[in-house]
Amino acid sequence: MGKEKQKSQLEEVFVKFKPIVTFRVKKSLGAYNPDCDDVANEIITNVIEKIKKGEFRGESSVGTFIYTITSRRIIDYIRQKSKVLKHVPEPASYPDPQEQIEDKERAEMIATAIKKLKPKYREVLYLYYYKELTREEVALKLGISPRRVSERVNYSQKLLKKLIKT
């Protein structure tokens, strides 16, 4: 493997995969688990080392290669923790982002934008994400097709994006 190619791969790991790895770790360990950043950094370092050692031979995509390392590390973490805590951490829920200022501001912005949406979009978001009804349950409740529910959710997202930008 050429030095140039390896260098670009390492850059890619940092720029492109760091957020993905972090997301995956947070999702598994819980967003406010203080270990998240450490675990994510460890994974990235591990990936870089492996690439440097030439362990990535292009048999799978870089994505799958990093995914495998990430999953293994998460399983190890949970195993270690469960030895101490005697139970496996719950899958990540959506806790109060109070402590993280950036997240909080972002949430405020989105909340303000949602309030500006028409009731027909708001009610879908309310039932689907806040009440956590399934797509089919929302459809039944509103007398529309499940496909329509998804369409409304997606369209709401588009509208929100516009509202936040302006």
């Binding site: 995969f17 993905i20 997301f23 995509s61 949430a107 909340a111 949602i114 978001l125 806040y130 997202q157």
Partner: protein, 217 residues
């Protein structure tokens, strides 16, 4: 932009609705699909904001929902759609019209059970004589015939107690002389006939009819 077929898994993943296998498949996928990852991050922000600020954002919906949960009437009415309720109302009106408007116009007939060609269960035995006052002690008691092959049982009462009874297939009976002698003048007696089918089941009962004797022999 063409949609990735994995996109529909984004919400399920964020809301923890995927099976373990589906989860792994989707996780591997978003490590390889920048489009899905980008959409998922956006969606994640939206869901997080809703979870965090939901009560404030959906104040109206929240109140509406809470009110709905409280009134039983809402619960009952929401059981059917307005269209279904219309159908229910129309059906109820139709039934009311049939029950109160049409049915009374048809002459009501009581159920009839045929024992044989002539005897009809439920029809009354009409007593012919004696029906009220009698100069002499009546020797013949007569009633309307109910049909062929009917057994009649006649009872004569004095103050509710049976003083004499007998059976016959005719629609009349002659009472024996020695019984006649026991009737007292000025006393009130009553008589009654019951009709039985050949199998012995009761078909009909006449009403009790009083008679009075003025001059016993």
């Amino acid at each position: 932009m063409r949609n990735c077929k994995f996109e529909e898994m984004i919400d399920k993943y964020l809301l923890n609705r995927l099976s373990e296998d589906e989860k792994s498949i989707f996780e591997e996928h978003y490590f390889n699909c920048p489009s899905c990852f980008e959409k998922m991050v956006e969606r994640d922000e939206l869901v997080a904001a809703i979870k965090y600020k939901g009560q404030e954002i959906f104040k109206d919906e929240y109140v509406a929902e809470a009110a709905k949960g409280e009134t039983w009437w809402e619960k009952v009415t929401s059981f059917l759609t307005p269209r279904q309720w219309t159908t229910v109302a129309i059906s109820a009106a139709l039934i009311a019209v049939i029950v109160f408007g049409v049915l009374p116009m048809l002459t009501p007939t009581s159920p009839q059970f045929y024992i044989n060609e002539d005897a009809v269960r439920g029809s009354k035995i009409t007593l012919i004589s004696p029906v009220w006052e009698s100069e002499t002690v009546p020797s013949k008691f007569e009633w309307k015939k109910m049909g062929e092959d009917v057994d009649y049982k006649i009872y004569i009462y004095d103050n509710g107690n049976v003083v004499w009874d007998d059976t016959t297939k005719d629609n009349f009976i002659i009472i024996p002389e020695d019984i006649k002698k026991t009737f007292a003048s000025g006393e009130k007696y009553s008589w009654q006939v019951k009709a039985f089918s050949p199998e012995g089941s009761l078909i009909s009962v006449s009403s009790k009819v009083q008679f009075k004797i003025h001059n016993p022999e």
